[in-house]
Each structure stands twice: as structure tokens, then as C-alpha cells.
């Protein structure tokens, strides 16, 4: 009797709560959802780890933060010059340039180019855009140092307070994306560029783009592009497996093998990039002031094994700063190679021997113990840290790894001996950016306080040199000197992968990581 009544009451309560759940679901339905594409429309859905607030690119206004990367990557805007596969600038919205003097560049603007709102992208519009850029964008202002921007006919003339040797390369930086500044740049959906796509809606996690019917460069093959920010590697993998996206960027190495094994459904396109996994020696650390110790550390690393075993061949062993596809990179410089025997001999020569038999070398009763600082947001860096721990242990050096996303704090406080990071070494196709920022006594990112007057002098010569061939030779000489000093250790360069369904065409990775969505992107229509 009582049991039955009780069951009824519980049943009643359950019904009430289920009704609540259903109401909740109905309310949630009103939260919206993905817009449905028309039948036959070509919609490309792209999952990427490279878009979002944390990347400072969650927007389309190239004159703000790193939003230019999104404008260029997703086909909304274009720059005056772009990089070819060898990272050399070639005309895009411009047709060419000349230098009347060391501080001036005259750029010829292409005829017939229009913004997506139909307004002509002429010299006046380009000049207005560049003037606005250097007025509001601190990084562009500091890099370009423009003192005047004028337009006459189809020529834009740029005057800079510094020699313009790398100005054309710097204009390929996504902040150089040309937009119509007569429009409201505050609203990201109203940023008007010259690219094959127009922004329909934009949030910090998703962008909806529609094709620009008046694109100056020809027919755009895909009707819609949806860019989804996905910050979790497993999620990225499952979304592609489940068919919710057509292509992904940033796939974890551990997942790539899944798609390599399913060649009938997926394809993987990869390209070597100039992103390097490097380690800077801290010259304030007494032990590291001895060149033999630094050399021993460099020789202890088996770069080929690191790339093969830990990066699953998704990178390639680095010799110096720049990758092999650049005229001043790859085997143009040389390092000491992997030589653990010589590493141990160098430590012995420096007075470090394992006197207590604990497996680590010591001097004056103290083990040789170093602190390796890195961060975890790039999956390769903790792998490099643990690999180094093993390699250095073999050489007799105890390495304490500090892999933290708060690495900036430790770096600033000087609580480190070797600092490892991943960095794009030639984002503008020119070596000046990296060299100037890392190798001289005044360099902003010379974290280890490396000093070599010869390098400083070479960098000074390099900055004033215009001839590309001589610039390349100087870059090689500078990097070689840094390698000879063992001030930096270069472990490997990243190979960037794009994994996509077999039906996707015209979506190819580029060494500079700027160009992804183009007019040539093509996918089967909806309802396929």
C-alpha cells in the first residue's frame, strides 16, 4: 500500500522535473544555431586552433592587434605584396615598386582592383589606409617608421625615417592588409577589404564569410566559409572524423596517424615553415659563461631522433635559425652535430667530472645542474624539454625542467638557465626581423644577454644593406657566428599540416602561414 503511493509520488515528481527539462530544452532551442546553407551551395567548414581571443586575432580590422592575420588568412583582405613559396615578395595589389633613394619607396598600384563594396582600391585609398595604419597600430608604426605617405596617379610614395631595405617585406605583414578606411573599422563585419570573401558575422569563436561577387581576381569557387575556433586537439580530431568540418589546422601529432591510415577519405598537406624550436643560453649563469659547456649542451642533442621519434616527422632537424627553403637558411650554415662523446670530453676539459659516481658531472663538490624554462601552449616544447633532460643526463648534466604557461614571469625574473621557445624566424621573408630582435646587445628578445661585438657590427652592416644577395650572405655570417658561440640551440623547424576531406580542393598550406582561404578553394555542394 505505502510502497505503491510512494512510487506514485516519486513518479509525479519525476514527471515535473522532466517537464522542466523539456522546457529548458525549448528555451535553449531559441539560443540559435548554425544557419542552414541553401541546397547546392558550396560551404567550407574549417576548424582551426589559430583563431581566437588568445591569439589576439579575433577580428577583421587589420589595424588592430593581430587581426590582420584573420583578414588575410580567411580571404577578406589582401596586401600590396605577398610572399611566394620561397618567401620572396611578389606583387599582389601592387604591380611593382622602385626606390628613388634609400629612404623612399614608390609603389605602383594595380588598376581595376575594387573593394568588396565596389569602391575602387586606387592609390588614394591605399595611401589613406597606410596613413591610418601607422597612426593607430603601434607595431606597424615601430616597424615601418613612415614619415609620410602620399598618392599621385596610381603611385603611392612612402618615406621612412630608416633605410627601406626590408620595407616591401614588412608590407607583406598582415597589418599591411588594405582596407577601405572610409568605412567603420570598429564593426568587424563592416571591415571592407579587396579579398574573395566578405564577413557576414564574427564572434570570438566563429566567423561566417560569403563570397565576394565582385572579386577583382576572378571567379570565387566557394559560396560560404565558416571558420570555427577549436582549442582542444581531441575535439579537432573528432570534428573532422564526424564530418562537422571539412578541414582542420593544428591537429595533434598523435592524431595525424589516424588520418594517414584513412587515405580514401582524408588527405594531409604539409609545408615546411620557418617556425623554429630553439633554446637560448643564459649568459648570466656562471656555468654557461664557459663556451665548452654551451658547446657540450648543443652536441648532446640528437636532432634527427627528436624530430623522428617525438615530432613523428612533423618537423625537420634545424641546423641554424632559418629553414632550408630560404636562400640564407638550411645547410648554408653548419653546427657541431650530435656528438655525445665530444660533449663529455668538453665537460671534462672544463673541469666537470663525475667524482661521486651519481651519474652527473661535478666541480668543486657541486653537480652541474641547469634549469630549462619553457611553456606548454606549443605541444612540441615540453617534448623537447624532456628529450633534452634525457640527452643531457647521458652527458652528465642534470636538467630541471620548468614547463609553465607563466614562463614570462620566470624569464623576466631571470629564474632560468636555458629558455626554450617556438618562434617564426622569417615572418616577413627577410632575416632582419629575427636577427635584429635576438642577436645584438640591444635586441628586445636577446633574453640570455648574448654579446659579441662582431655580431653587432655585422648586424649594423646588414641593416643598411639593400642588395638581397649581400643581405643573405651577411645573414649567413651572423647566424654562423651565433652557432659558433653556441649562444642559441636550434632543435627543429615545424612542418605545418592541414588535414582535410578528399573533396576539398585549392586549400593548401603556405610556408608563411598567412594565406589559407583563397578564391581557388573548392568543395562539393551541400546535399552532396
Amino acid at each position: 500500500m505505502t510502497g505503491s503511493s510512494c512510487r506514485q509520488s516519486v513518479h509525479g515528481l519525476l514527471c515535473f522535473l522532466l517537464a522542466g527539462l523539456i522546457s529548458c530544452a525549448i528555451v535553449l532551442t531559441g539560443c540559435g544555431g548554425t544557419k542552414k546553407a541553401a541546397h547546392g551551395e558550396k560551404v567550407f567548414r574549417y576548424g582551426t586552433m589559430a583563431y581566437g581571443v588568445a591569439m589576439y586575432n579575433a577580428g577583421m580590422n587589420p589595424h588592430k592587434s593581430y587581426n590582420g592575420w584573420s583578414a588575410i588568412r580567411y580571404g577578406v583582405g589582401e596586401t600590396l605584396f605577398r610572399f611566394d613559396d620561397k618567401m620572396q615578395p611578389v606583387p599582389w595589389l601592387a604591380t611593382g615598386y622602385d626606390r628613388p633613394d634609400d629612404y623612399t619607396v614608390r609603389i605602383r598600384i594595380r588598376d581595376g582592383v575594387t573593394f568588396s563594396n565596389g569602391r575602387p582600391c586606387d592609390a588614394e585609398a591605399v595611401a589613406a589606409c597606410l596613413r591610418h595604419l601607422v597612426k593607430v597600430h603601434e607595431r606597424a608604426k615601430g616597424n615601418l617608421r613612415l614619415t609620410s605617405v602620399t598618392a599621385r596617379g596610381n603611385i603611392v610614395t612612402l618615406h621612412s625615417s630608416q633605410k627601406t631595405a626590408s620595407l616591401i617585406h614588412q608590407l607583406c605583414d598582415p597589418y599591411g592588409c588594405i582596407v577601405d578606411v572610409s568605412q567603420d573599422l570598429k564593426d568587424d563585419t563592416k571591415v571592407v577589404g579587396t579579398g574573395p570573401f566578405i564577413t557576414e558575422s564574427l564572434t570570438p569563436t566563429e566567423i561566417h564569410l560569403r563570397k565576394n561577387p565582385h572579386y577583382w581576381g576572378g571567379q570565387v569557387k566557394t559560396d560560404q566559409v565558416i571558420v570555427k575556433s577549436i582549442t582542444d586537439g581531441e575535439m579537432l580530431t573528432m570534428a573532422l572524423q564526424n564530418g562537422e568540418v571539412d578541414a582542420v589546422q593544428g591537429m595533434p601529432y598523435s592524431s595525424i596517424t589516424l588520418f594517414e591510415a584513412a587515405k580514401d577519405k582524408f588527405k594531409i598537406l604539409s609545408v615546411p615553415t620557418s617556425r623554429v624550436f630553439q633554446a637560448a643560453m643564459n649568459f648570466r649563469t656562471p656555468a654557461l659563461q664557459d663556451g665548452r659547456i654551451r658547446a657540450a649542451i648543443c652536441m648532446a642533442l640528437n636532432k634527427q631522433q627528436f624530430v623522428r621519434a617525438l615530432l613523428n616527422e612533423n618537423g625537420y632537424a634545424a641546423i641554424g635559425t632559418f629553414p632550408a627553403n630560404l636562400p640564407y637558411g638550411g645547410s648554408k650554415v653548419h653546427d657541431d652535430g650530435y656528438n655525445p662523446d665530444k660533449a663529455r670530453a668538453l665537460l671534462a676539459e672544463a673541469g666537470y667530472k663525475d667524482t661521486d659516481g651519481d651519474g652527473y658531472v661535478d666541480k668543486d663538490g657541486k653537480n652541474l645542474e641547469l634549469r630549462w624554462l619553457t611553456y606548454t601552449s606549443r605541444q612540441e616544447l615540453p617534448l623537447l624539454a624532456t628529450a633534452m633532460q634525457g640527452y643531457l643526463k647521458k652527458a652528465g648534466i642534470r636538467l630541471n625542467v620548468n614547463a609553465t604557461d607563466n614562463s614570462g614571469d620566470f624569464l623576466k625574473k631571470g629564474d632560468w638557465d636555458i629558455y626554450s621557445k617556438a618562434i617564426v624566424t622569417a615572418p616577413t621573408g627577410d632575416p632582419q626581423y629575427y636577427i635584429a630582435n635576438h642577436f645584438t646587445a640591444q635586441s628586445a628578445h636577446n633574453d640570455g644577454r648574448y654579446r659579441n661585438p662582431r655580431v653587432d657590427a655585422l648586424v649594423q652592416r646588414f641593416s643598411g644593406e639593400f642588395d638581397p644577395e649581400r643581405r643573405g650572405q651577411l645573414a649567413i655570417a651572423i647566424v654562423q657566428q651565433v652557432l659558433d658561440d653556441h649562444a642559441f640551440l636550434y632543435a627543429g623547424h615545424l612542418r605545418m599540416n592541414l588535414v582535410m576531406r578528399n573533396g576539398v580542393q585549392g586549400f593548401v598550406p603556405h610556408p608563411c602561414d598567412y594565406y589559407e582561404v583563397t578564391k581557388d578553394l573548392d568543395v562539393p555542394g551541400e546535399g552532396r
Binding site: M1, T2, G3, S4, S5, C6, Q8, S9, V10, L13, L14, L17, L18, G20, L21, C24, A25, V27, L28, T29, C31, G32, G33, T34, V53, A54, Y56, K64, S65, Y66, E138, R139, K141, G142, N143, T203, P204, T205, S229, I230, T231, D232, E234, M235, M238, A239, N242, E244, V245, G408, D409, L411, K412, K413, I423, P427, Y433, N437, A444, H445
Partner: protein, 317 residues
């Protein structure tokens, strides 16, 4: 509004002031600031560019001046995010619907499952189903949320194709994240409800009511369930507070653009105005939810009365 409630709300002012000041000072203990983080990835800027950015953002001014300016911006509603440049209030409001949807759907699911299970276990104490449910609740408690998420995603979305992997804002995309949050909460709640029910069933008023001939179902529904609800309200209040504060891991896995994701991003980017706003939001939420819980205690059990806080506490038995 009763005096204790007004007092509780007034107490919120110094609490918020203290919390915001302490958070502000703690954030600036770090050697790295928002501008360092902003340019860290590119490494392409000189110190002069960083200095110009700091000047534009007011980060080069003395700490207390920065705090005063932030306080002023807060009152005027003009506080801007360093990362996005957008008004912070607008950012929080934009993230709120997703967090609210996730909070209430996971809570509804939790209560809908754990309440009957807990009651069933209590009524069938030490029987086989009780043991099975208790073992299940142990397991549910032990499984971390992200692990449950990936299991559900793999089996329900990838293998069976019943639901989407990624959140697209539709109600279907909230099912898996709600389940991922609800599973460990259900395990915990079932045990609490079972315990609360058993405690009440052992009290003399239940035997006395039965002796007076009151049907068992009425005793359960009108008295036991009502009294045992106090346990449920306590845990619910804690859960609502923490869920409204954001569930960063689940939000990140399921691509839900909620408060938790926003807070983690802000911390990583050292976006001070957003972190400050988030801390205030969490403090306000906890205060209001606890206040609501206290009022509900009184509603369910009038013996628990609200008293003047100056007389040694807020609302007590």
C-alpha cells in the same frame, strides 16, 4: 525587503571592494604584464613599441592610480578589455546565455536523475539496487569531467552519430556538455539525497505519524521530502555558484563560449579589467545564491529564521 537581507546586500559593498583591491594587487605581482603577453607570440616588437602600448592602455601609471581609474570605469560602465578592446560588461553579458543554459540544463538533469535515485536507494536501503547505485555514484564521483566528456563525445557523437561533436548554439549541442557536468554531480547528489532521506526516515516524527495512521506516501511527500530538501538546497547553492562562475574545461572542450572560457583566456592574457570583472561577478553570484538558499531554508523549515546579522549571524536555526 527584510532587514537581514538588506544587511547582507550592504555587506556586499566592502566585500566587493576588498576582493577587487586584493585581486588587482595580486595580478600586478607578476613580472609580466598584458603587453608582454600580447607581443610574446610575435617577438617582433621593440621595447619602445611596448612602451607606447603601455602608455595607451594606462599601464605605465602608478598602481593605485590604475586601480582608481579602473574603479571609475567600472562605475561608468566604460571598462574595456585589453585583449579585445570591447566593453567588459558587454563581454560578460554576451557570454552569459551560454553559461546560464549550461548551468540550468546540467542542474535540471542532475536533479531529475539524482532525486529519484537517492530516494529509491533510501527506500531500498542495503538491497541490491541500492548497492549498484552506490557503486555507480562512487565511480561517477571518481571520473573527472573532461574524461567523461571525451567518452561521451567518442561514443555518442563519433561512433553513433547521435549528436554533434561541436557546439553550434542549438539545444542539441548542449546535451553532451550538460551530461558531462551532470554525471559527477548526479553521483554526488544521489549520495547526499539518500543520506538526507535516511536521516529523516530515522526520526521519531515518522514513526509517530505512522502510528497515527497517516499514509506512508503522505509522510514521505509532505514531511520527509520537504525536510530532506534542505540538504539538496545546500548542495544546489554550491553548484549554482560554481557553475555560474564558469566551467572552463567543459566549455573549452565543447566550444561553448561561456564565462569560464572567457576567464581562463583573460588570466592567460593578463587582461586585468576582464579578470577583475570576473572576480566581482563570482563574488556577487555566490552572495546572491547563498542568500537565496538561506531564504529557501526558511521557506522549507520555518524553524530556521532570519535574524539581524549584527546579532551574531545571518539566518540560522
Amino acid at each position: 525587503m527584510s532587514k537581514p537581507v538588506v544587511q547582507r546586500l550592504l555587506l556586499l559593498i566592502p566585500v566587493l571592494f576588498g576582493i577587487s583591491l586584493v585581486t588587482f594587487l595580486l595580478m600586478h605581482v607578476s613580472a609580466e604584464d598584458a603587453v608582454d603577453v600580447m607581443y610574446r607570440q610575435s617577438g617582433a616588437v621593440s621595447e619602445s613599441v611596448k612602451a607606447a602600448t603601455r602608455t595607451r592602455l594606462g599601464l605605465d601609471r602608478p598602481l593605485l592610480v590604475q586601480y582608481a581609474l579602473w574603479l571609475r570605469a567600472l562605475f561608468l560602465g566604460t571598462s574595456l578589455s585589453i585583449g579585445t578592446g570591447l566593453p567588459v560588461s558587454g563581454m560578460i553579458l554576451a557570454k552569459l546565455p551560454a553559461t546560464l543554459a549550461l548551468t540550468f540544463s546540467s542542474l535540471a538533469l542532475t536533479v531529475a536523475v539524482s532525486l529519484p535515485l537517492g530516494i529509491y536507494c533510501a527506500l531500498h536501503k542495503d538491497k541490491v539496487p541500492d548497492y549498484i547505485i552506490r557503486i555507480g555514484s562512487f565511480a561517477g564521483n571518481a571520473l573527472p569531467g573532461f574524461f567523461v566528456s571525451f567518452l561521451l563525445l567518442y561514443y555518442v557523437a563519433v561512433r553513433l552519430h547521435w549528436l554533434p561533436v561541436m557546439g553550434d548554439g542549438s539545444w542539441r549541442s548542449f546535451i553532451l556538455p550538460a551530461c558531462s557536468l551532470a554525471l559527477p554531480m548526479t553521483a554526488k547528489y544521489t549520495r547526499y539525497i539518500r543520506g538526507g532521506f535516511l536521516r529523516e526516515l530515522g526520526k521519531p516524527y515518522v514513526s509517530a505519524s505512522l502510528l497515527r495512521g497517516i499514509p506512508y506516501s503522505i509522510i514521505l511527500r509532505r514531511f520527509v521530502l520537504k525536510s530532506a530538501s534542505l540538504t539538496l538546497i545546500t548542495v544546489l547553492a554550491l553548484s549554482v555558484g560554481s557553475l555560474l562562475g564558469g566551467t572552463a574545461i567543459i566549455e573549452s572542450i565543447f566550444r561553448i563560449d561561456g564565462i569560464g572560457n572567457m576567464a581562463v583566456r583573460a588570466i592567460l592574457m593578463k587582461d586585468y579589467p576582464v579578470i577583475q570583472a570576473y572576480v566581482l561577478w563570482t563574488a556577487v553570484i555566490y552572495t546572491f545564491v547563498n542568500l537565496a538558499a538561506d531564504l529557501l531554508y526558511h521557506h522549507f523549515d520555518p524553524r530556521i529564521v532570519a535574524t539581524d546579522t549584527s546579532e551574531g549571524g545571518g539566518i540560522h536555526d
